[in-house]
Symmetry: C2
Subunit: 413 residues, 2 copies
């Protein structure tokens, strides 16, 4: 008998028929004697419908009342799932964020979880009931409803798993696991059996959409084992594991022993180049401060060696922020003294991720050689301990993914 | 400066445009310096939409989870109205049933209000905020969401008015007040300025749809003055007043001095006649017990004087219960010993209501004479202190309403 937290997202809860399938999934588990806590998101499309209503009555500040509004989506979902479970003869009880209770800070729209009171959950489980918890929502210390931000139900599930001491946190979606790369880009993509949280974090922030990044951080910190599975098919899924004692060696080398675990591709990227910047101490900081103050996420920064007392800076920003970034830089052009800003939005960022890189030199070289032999020009490079990112022409991005996937033989275990 | 509770029903909240109109109504009041608590229902159609979803996943017991589901309707409504008010520069704060808090018993689907904690409401009002409260919902002592039954938002509003000590409880709908009879039946129907709670109770239970009966009972008991107004037009509305000291005399005679205050017509009625019942003590009780156990609402009961040791009983039931009533009676025919049951579902119940009847004999006679002169045959009669009901052929019901309206000169103040 295990204690399992199961999280079902909006696509799994899209219709009453699918809610019936989710109930079947839960029934499978309880019939094996498992204790089950289910965390659910709103039915697909519901959050957008509610936001549209709000946009029709106001200019939508991200405030308390928007959270009151959006929290109804998950409330409908838990009630329907609890009813569907009872219809199958499974005793079930729904819990809202304030009933569990999931205490958060008071930052409406992106609240952080402070504590979860596991006592009412354990009480229900001991009575043999399935506990159905509303994801995405919490309550602040004054009793106001808060929400955790988009994708927040993953975080609700992982935090719930930590609070109740679950054996595993299963995250169900319409894909059956985490792949070495997007199967839509390369048919040789292979489902990964085990990946470390650290690697998953790099993949999640690079555009892999299976798991919300904050939930993986939380799992890493609180040692929660996550398993990503499909609602609609059988299969063992992919485990996302924190580094736990006894696994240290494996984690250092990548959980499957490979040097590189996956290849990610982020096409939502633009490259900015700032030309002929006077090379003074503090120049880079002065340049990036206006962007940081506007909450623009700057990535892959390259500064050339100075020449004639001037240097050149290139970096990437999300495509949607490119125009705004140029405006902000030009507004400070006089003070900063640079000659020109150029934008290229026909670029993509391709990254290889692997915990094994730490202990294995020469990974970067192998990647650059593979891309070079395939005639793919590298515009920018950025590396971390377990990741190497290159910025390439957007039209060559998919080819770059395939070349790297082949070079590191990711189709083989 | 007054403290006003304003309740807006589903038709007033049907669209985002109408929610804007409701916000305008509230703004009118605050600009005059009033403190305002708003109680709202779900947007029109929302409760039915949610019930339909539930019916697709389960055979719908009236349980805890249905209340969790339905409570979202009002939650969406309070959030949207609070946002619309803030958009107009009016500080507003929404409250759910558990936040106010509206403590109820634990009878899901038709909970009764036990107490309301007025402290958080007064705190908000003192900060100059408009308080927006979700109607229809409450919370039991274990923190479970409960609902008050259909039309329960009227009760929420009246109970809130009592709890905060409001000067008045304004109930807004798409009609501008309470009429001497349905204007759709008789164009001479006149809007009533003042009516007592007792009279309103008789009218509400007789098919006038402006106010939920339980809310009027609550207003009578807790001395809340209700004013029924239109969301969509100006006008002073109709006051529904508890009998308060200083008004005793007026109340005895009807608040407007008239003997009869209104005429109601209930076409949702069927007449049952049970023929040749052996006349033994306890016969009537034995006959009605099976109906009562099936929660069938029996009204207007007439028993004939015994003849040959037998009598005849006629009574009315709601049309939808007629067939079931016959089945139940026939199931006990042997034991009860009656000869036959006959049903007539082409009947209607027409009633005149007026607190002034108490002190004025001859009202019944005047009513019967007026109907007789108009050639309208009376099938059954039932009277109470402030009400006279007659059962007539359904095709003559509207004529009966007009005849009685004319006879008691209800078109004049």
């Amino acid at each position: 008998m295990a204690l399992i937290v199961k999280k079902f997202g909006g696509s799994s809860m899209a219709t009453v028929q699918r809610i019936g399938l989710v109930a079947d999934r839960v029934a499978q588990s309880t019939s094996q004697g498992d204790q089950v806590v289910v965390v659910v998101s709103a039915m697909q499309g519901e959050t957008d419908r509610l936001l549209k209503l709000a946009s029709q009555v106001c200019t939508m500040p991200r405030d308390r009342e928007i959270d009151v509004l959006l929290a109804t989506g998950e409330q409908v979902a838990i009630a329907l799932l609890a009813l569907a479970l009872r219809e199958k003869g499974i005793e079930a009880r729904s819990f809202l964020g304030h009933q569990v209770k999931i205490l958060t800070d008071n930052v409406h729209g992106s609240a952080r979880i402070v504590t979860i009171d596991a006592a009412p959950v354990h009480e229900c489980l001991q009575r043999g009931e399935v506990v159905v918890v509303a994801g995405f929502q919490g309550v602040d210390q004054d009793g106001n409803i808060t929400t955790l931000g988009r994708g927040g139900s993953d975080l609700s599930a992982v935090a719930m798993a930590a609070a109740v001491g679950a054996d595993a946190c299963e995250i169900y979606s319409d894909v059956d696991g985490i792949y070495t790369t997007d199967p839509g880009i390369y048919s040789k993509a292979r489902k990964i059996d085990k990946i470390s949280c650290e690697e998953m974090l790099e993949l999640a922030s690079l555009g892999a959409k299976v798991l919300q990044a904050r939930s993986v951080e939380f799992a890493l910190k609180h040692k929660v084992a996550i398993c990503c599975k499909s609602t609609f098919s059988e299969g063992s899924g992919s485990w996302v594991l924190p580094v736990i004692s006894g696994l240290e060696g494996e984690a250092m080398a990548g959980l499957e022993g490979a040097v590189v675990t996956g290849v990610a591709c982020d096409r939502n990227t633009a490259r900015l180049s700032v030309l002929r910047i006077p090379n003074r101490p503090g120049t880079a900081a002065a340049l990036f401060r206006p962007l940081a103050e506007d909450a623009i996420n700057v990535d892959v920064i390259i500064q050339t060696a100075p020449q004639d007392g001037h240097c050149e800076l290139s970096f990437t920003v999300p495509k949607a922020s490119a125009e705004r970034s140029v405006q902000l830089l030009l507004a400070h052009q006089e003070r900063l003294g640079f000659a020109e800003v150029r934008v290229a939005d026909n670029v993509a960022k391709v990254s290889i991720v692997g915990a094994g890189m730490r202990s294995q030199p020469g990974v970067a070289l192998q990647a650059f050689e593979a891309l070079g032999q395939a005639g793919i020009d590298i515009q920018l490079i950025s590396t971390s301990e377990i990741k190497i990112s290159v910025v390439v022409d957007d039209r060559l991005a998919e080819a770059a993914v395939r070349v790297l996937h082949d070079s590191f033989q990711l189709d083989r275990v």
